[in-house]
């Protein structure tokens, strides 16, 4: 295919869904059916184009890609910055390189699956629902379906835009548009309210939306500063222009390693917000308040993946910073590892079926961030892709579970039990077989079930890299990360087994679960397709030297994703700016054994606690007794929300109300102003008394008129034209006096 056509197709990949958003918003919003058809057409054409472009790029062969990673590029002039007479414009363009191509494959596919699923999820064709802005508990069609698909199109389009962006600013555009879409979609059920006392404490969707937007926004503006710094240091925002060995040398001369480290951390803050890392992770669990397809797109295809993707995009910068300033690696890997462990512990004690998955996402993202912090580019990218597949699968499957439970609720007219609470489930294996098997595959992938599932291979890569850095370079940080992630992986396998057991095994614990039934093909077909990828995606990244062999396995993913920065890393390595190039690691048994032990051990332990003797109705979680008060702490999510409320939100409100407004604005500034006004008035009053005593009453009248100047102005309200004319005359006279004063040379004398 010729280059021009491919560039056009690349532009069209994000343009199609974004155009669909506008078409739905402006023209098609009256028809729900037409809206989803438009959305499907847009996203499927994006899927076709994405795969065409990606396969065409990847098909050019490893050698070509390593020489020229950026295979497709096109840019237009956008904003003049600097000396625009000399043509210094900021260009906006698209580019597809190996990393982008791999990402396109994943994003377009997962998004399409979610779009297909959404039609079933919103009960299309089951009679029009009556409750705008609330979930339809009677399983009728969502009345605002057009709006839903409009925003979903914009969401998908923004993510695709971010993937194909050739510069940091366009990436940021997609990034922020996603923030807005997530706000609109998390708060999609804006009218939903929860009763005062809930078994699982939830905040209403509109609050959750605000929280998500504000939290990520804080990170985004810091990231914007990073972009500004980047532009200042590199003189460009274009990735391929900025990331060359020469420009790194120049930038290091300009800002030093310290400056580079700060730049990296500013940009990294964007990821902390978007990819929900501690301390800004609090929005993601509450983002569950949106409809489940929204959760899936946030957790898998878009939003949180975008944060990691951005880190991968700027990986050369991170690699140089890690090498130049040790604290950068410490901060990134430390935050990642801590988040991975913390979120995994919280997930142990959640009862909301989506809540468990939400924390597992945070935890898995922590794995990726920790990998990036160790300079493990390929493992992070690999885990990003595999995680997206199995997490999209898990979310859609959990949505299917909730959907089935809600069907049960309609059937038995029980709206008292929470259909999302795992304690109310049980025994769904026979009621919803497709959902069960696909959920099981997703769950095993998440737990890292050995050799078959994708999650195993990608986690194993991260362990291998961390272990290599410890055993080879004696990097203490790598060992700490290795151990932390191993513990987190153990917990992951444990809570996955817990979730599967509580949801699907045993006997139904409520009438809801008793009467649940399988979802429609709109929902199950995407599950099956995603399940295929949740298994096979991992086979593309089996280490070349797996089990010490040589030449049997081919690590397709490692070579192709690595081609992105292969040459650059070699050049930087020669300059001594980075420690490692993308070499194939020597074989070591230890990481393999560790990942086998944690995955199988965690699953076995979870099955032993929850699966062997499934919970009975009304029986409390056995872990409550085992963990004691710690369980409450974990169930309360370590109490971050309350802490932030007291630490930031409260003081901000206090400052704006009491200090900025009341004290400074009203008391000090206005106080001074009124003081001056009063002083003038008093002076006037003093003059008045003086005049009353000294000057005759004839003059008094004029002066009285003058003093009550302000009151007299009320006569304007009579609206008589002649009086306006009088004012005009007054103004004109005043001006004339000024002119005369100047003319007479009086002022000139004063000034000369």
């Amino acid at each position: 295919m010729n280059a021009q056509l491919l560039t056009t197709l690349t532009w069209l990949i994000p343009a199609m869904p974004i155009a669909a958003f506008f078409i739905i918003a402006l023209f098609a919003w009256r028809s729900r059916t037409l809206s989803w058809i438009i959305a499907w057409v847009a996203i499927i054409s994006s899927l076709v184009m994405s795969w065409t472009v990606a396969i065409s790029v990847l098909g050019r062969g490893l050698h070509v890609l390593e020489e020229h990673p950026e295979q497709i590029a096109g840019a237009v002039q956008w904003l003049p910055l600097g000396d625009f007479y000399q043509g210094q414009w900021l260009k906006m363009g698209v580019a597809v390189d190996p990393l982008g191509a791999i990402m396109l494959l994943m994003v377009s596919f997962a998004t399409t699956m979610i779009f297909v699923y959404s039609v079933g999820y919103h009960n299309w064709g089951h009679g029009l629902g009556k409750h705008k802005g609330e979930p339809q508990h009677d399983m009728t069609e969502e009345p605002l379906l057009a709006r839903f698909f409009g925003y979903m199109c914009l969401f998908g389009g923004s993510m695709l835009l971010l993937v194909v962006a050739d510069n940091l600013l366009l990436l940021f555009v997609g990034w922020e548009l996603m923030g807005f879409c997530s706000y609109s979609l998390i708060g999609f059920w804006y009218a939903r309210n929860y009763p005062q006392h809930q078994e699982i404490t939830r905040i209403p969707p509109r609050e959750a939306a605000k929280k998500a937007f504000m939290t990520t926004r804080i990170a985004d503006v810091v990231m914007l500063l990073g972009i500004v710094f980047f532009w200042w240091a590199f003189g460009t925002l274009d990735f391929s222009e900025a990331f060359t060995a020469e420009s790194f040398e120049q930038v290091i001369n300009l800002v030093g390693f310290g400056g580079l480290g700060i730049m990296t951390l500013l940009l990294f803050t964007g990821t902390v917000g978007k990819s929900a890392q501690w301390p800004l992770h609090v929005w993601l669990p509450d983002a569950m308040e949106g409809p489940t397809p929204v959760s899936a797109i946030i957790h898998a295809a878009a939003m949180v993946s975008a944060g990691i993707f951005m880190l991968l995009r700027i990986f050369p910068l991170i690699a140089v910073s890690i090498e130049g300033t040790p604290y950068v690696g410490l901060v990134i890997a430390g935050i990642g590892a801590f988040t991975a462990l913390m979120a995994a512990t919280i997930a142990l004690a959640q009862y909301d079926v989506k809540g468990v998955l939400a924390y597992s996402t945070i935890s898995q993202l922590g794995f990726m961030v920790a990998a990036v912090g160790l300079g493990a580019y390929v493992p992070a990218a690999f885990h990003l892709i595999t995680h997206a597949f199995f997490k999209a699968l898990l979310f859609l499957a959990s949505g299917s579970v909730i959907h089935g439970m809600e069907h049960g609720a309609v059937h038995v007219h029980d709206h008292h039990h929470d259909p999302q609470d795992m304690r109310n489930m049980g025994g769904l294996r026979h009621k919803m077989p497709v959902t069960f098997w696909t959920f099981l595959i997703g769950g095993l992938a998440l737990a890292g079930f050995p050799f078959i599932t994708a999650g195993f291979w990608s986690k194993d890569e991260i362990f291998a890299e961390a272990w290599y850095q410890w055993s080879h370079d004696a990097k203490l940080l790598a060992l700490v990360v290795f151990i932390t992630l191993a513990v987190a992986a153990l917990l992951t396998a444990f809570y996955t087994a817990r979730q599967i057991s509580m949801t699907f095994l045993g006997k139904p614990r409520t009438e809801l679960a008793e009467h649940a039934h399988e979802s429609s093909p709109f929902m199950t077909v995407p599950l099956v397709l995603l399940a295929v990828f949740a298994v096979t995606a991992g086979w593309s990244g089996i280490s070349d030297r797996f089990l010490g062999t040589d030449g049997i396995f081919y690590n397709f993913f490692h070579h192709y994703a690595g081609a992105q920065y292969f040459h650059l890393m070699e050049e930087l390595h020669e300059l001594g700016l980075v420690a490692h190039t993308f070499e194939t690691l020597p074989w070591s048994w230890i990481p393999l054994i560790v990942s086998l032990v944690v995955a199988l051990g965690g699953l076995a332990l979870g099955w032993w606690v929850y699966g062997r003797r499934p919970l009975e109705s009304g029986q409390p979680d056995p872990m409550i007794r085992t963990l004691g008060p710690a369980h409450g702490f974990l169930n309360n999510k370590w109490g971050w929300d309350g802490l932030y409320q007291r630490l930031f939100i409260g003081p901000t409100a206090y400052f704006s109300e009491k200090i900025a407004y009341e004290l400074i604005d009203r008391n000090i500034i206005d106080g001074i102003l009124h003081g001056i006004a009063r002083a003038f008035y008093r002076t006037g009053a003093a003059f008045k008394r003086f005049e009353e005593v000294v000057i005759s009453s004839g003059v008094d009248k004029i002066k009285d008129g003058f003093l009550s100047f302000a009151k007299e102005f009320r006569y304007l309200q009579t609206g008589k034209v002649q009086e306006y004319a009088l004012i005009s005359v007054f103004i004109a006279t005043a001006l004339a006096v000024v002119v005369l004063l100047i003319n007479s040379g009086l002022l000139a004398n004063i000034f000369n």
């Binding site: 807005f180 937007f213 409100a653 009320r714 609206g719 003319n743």
Partner: protein, 552 residues
């Protein structure tokens, strides 16, 4: 150009005002037709001027006098060499267009005004004329004249048609602030008029083209820059002289709020830039690093206060203070990126606040309250306003893809670039030490902006809708929708394709920044410690005072 486009743009509203006043009383509603005619005429002409200016952008490095287009020159008071000179460069052509757009919007949203429509429209026309006049004036006296012409109708419009609770207080506060500010500036004008230049005779002219090429003595520059800049800066809402503005917004009727926040505050920033920075570049280089700190307070402080407001107009009023702080911050960045951003921010904020105020006006006309605690669920009754308010809100929080981002990004770039300025200016402030820090702190303002915008959207438009309480709610008129759509489209177009505005704004800023660059290189600042520079300043003031007294 022979045809006097600019004079017609600036003066025709006055003519229309007279025509409107001559209408018989019982045909008062015809006033709005005349007002509309005036605004449409202005819009068409300013669009032509904008396009023509865009098509003939000046050469790189051209001095300001050569970058002016559509120049008209007539003698006014020959004895004083007061002349009627008008012309536009890239920036003022843009702002003239902005004024016409907002003015047209203002007439349209006031369509159903019933209280003395003739007088209302007449004063509104005068206000627009004054604003146009300032933007096209190339003569300092003319600029001052139009400036006053813009301020006085504001007073009347607020006092007569304003919100009954606070209109007299607000109008008086506004007028006094602005008059005092402008008189301070005017004194500075007189100084420039009478001061000898380069050891020779004083210029004795108000022609800005001549002033902009004269180099005033360094001491004059550093003394008179502040009065000149702050005098006009008051109108741009510069902290701590911002206080009149939210009060004024609240008290003013909708159309006047739109003009006030949308254009009038830009007038202050424009005049501060045009006569302050452009005429006294060395003074600017000396003082702007200090002013940057004030603008930082503006941005953060305005946002904080906006967050606690319950009255929607106060909220927007304080958010204007915050956003206008960004304009001044762009100037204080001393770089072309900052100036370009400031110019785009003027337009972006102008349209955005006009949009905000029109939404609030539409709600207030129907609900008779602007209290965010009372309003709820307006989405049901007035669906168009939700979309408009959300678009405005996204602009104000700098969402990429909308015009606010196109403005804020260059401003931050500009301020961050200040890290490479090595000046030891007033109070020993050296930009390279803290400009980066200012950029970092000011993003706090943007975060909080997102907070208050979301809060307003949530509490006003979403939530429960009380059908009984709002039983007399009438839907929006077609005209209202037209205004909302028009403003929104402009915000989106600029955001997606900034080339419609960015080059022309840059071309207007280029000569000013060029002068600043020269001044930076020539700057010999004594700086040093706080006490040292204060003493130095005092010495200069004393020396000048004694020389004037000696002269008298």
């Amino acid at each position: 150009m022979d045809f006097p486009y600019l004079s017609i743009i600036a003066l025709s509203p006055i003519l229309f005002a007279v025509l409107i006043l001559m209408l018989p009383k019982e045909r008062g509603e015809n006033a709005r037709m005349l007002g509309l005619a005036a605004m449409v005429l202005g819009l068409v002409l300013s669009l032509y001027v904008y396009i023509a200016t865009y098509q003939s952008l000046p050469e790189a490095g051209a001095p300001w006098a050569e970058s002016l287009r559509f120049v008209e020159e007539h003698s006014w008071v020959p004895a004083l060499d007061l002349n009627y000179i008008v012309g536009v460069d890239g920036l003022s052509a843009t702002l003239v267009l902005l004024t016409s757009i907002v003015g047209l919007g203002g007439v349209l949203v006031s369509w159903s005004i019933e209280d003395r429509p003739r007088e209302f429209y007449a004063f509104f026309m005068l206000l627009v004329a004054g604003v146009h006049g300032v933007f096209v004036a190339v003569d300092a006296f003319l600029l001052f004249f139009f400036y006053e012409l813009a301020v006085l109708p504001m007073y009347v419009l607020i006092v007569v048609w304003g919100w009954k609770v606070s209109r007299e207080y607000a109008a008086m506060k506004l007028t006094l602030y602005l008059l005092i500010g402008s008189f301070v500036s005017f004194i500075a004008f007189l100084v420039l008029y009478f001061t000898p230049v380069d050891g020779g005779a004083p210029l004795r002219t108000f022609d800005l083209r001549i002033w902009s090429e004269a180099s005033f003595a360094f001491n004059i520059q550093i003394i008179w820059f502040m009065p000149l800049f702050l005098g006009f800066g008051v109108l741009a809402g510069l902290w701590p002289f911002h206080n009149w503005s939210p009060d004024g917004h609240v008290a003013a009727p909708t159309a006047v709020s739109m003009i006030h926040a949308g254009v009038l505050m830009k007038l202050g920033a424009y005049a501060a830039m045009r006569v302050g920075i452009q005429l006294l570049p060395e003074g600017a280089v000396y003082w702007l690093p200090f002013i940057l700190l004030l603008t930082l307070v503006n941005v953060v402080y305005g946002a904080f206060i906006a967050m606690r407001q319950k009255d929607m107009k106060y909220l927007i009023g304080y958010s204007s203070v915050s956003h206008m702080g960004l304009v001044s911050m762009g100037f204080a960045a001393l770089t072309i990126a900052g100036f370009t951003g400031a110019g785009i921010q003027m337009v972006s904020h102008g349209i955005m606040t006009a949009l905000f105020f029109s939404v609030v006006g539409m709600i207030y006309d129907r609900a008779h309250t602007r209290d965010m605690d009372e309003l709820s669920g307006m989405r049901r009754a007035l669906p168009w306003t939700v979309v408009a308010f959300i678009i405005g809100g996204l602009v104000s929080m700098g969402m990429p893809g909308l015009s606010g981002f196109i403005a804020e990004f260059p401003i931050f770039l500009g301020v961050w670039n200040g890290n490479s300025l090595d000046l030891n200016a007033v109070f020993g402030l050296n930009p390279s030490n803290y400009y980066g820090l200012v950029a970092i702190i000011s993003v706090l303002g943007i975060i909080i902006t997102a907070g208050y915008v979301l809060r307003a959207i949530q509490s006003v438009f979403f939530g429960e809708y009380d059908a009984e309480k709002w039983h007399d709610m009438r839907p929006l008129m077609g005209i209202d929708k037209l205004v909302l759509v028009g403003f929104s489209v402009i915000l989106i177009v600029i955001g997606v394709y900034p080339a419609v505005i960015a080059p022309i704004v840059t071309s207007g800023m280029e000569p000013v920044v060029e002068r600043l660059n020269v001044a930076q290189q020539a700057a010999q600042f004594h700086g040093g410690t706080l006490a040292g520079s204060a003493q130095h300043l005092l010495e200069i003031v004393a020396a000048n005072l004694s020389s004037w007294l000696g002269g008298a």
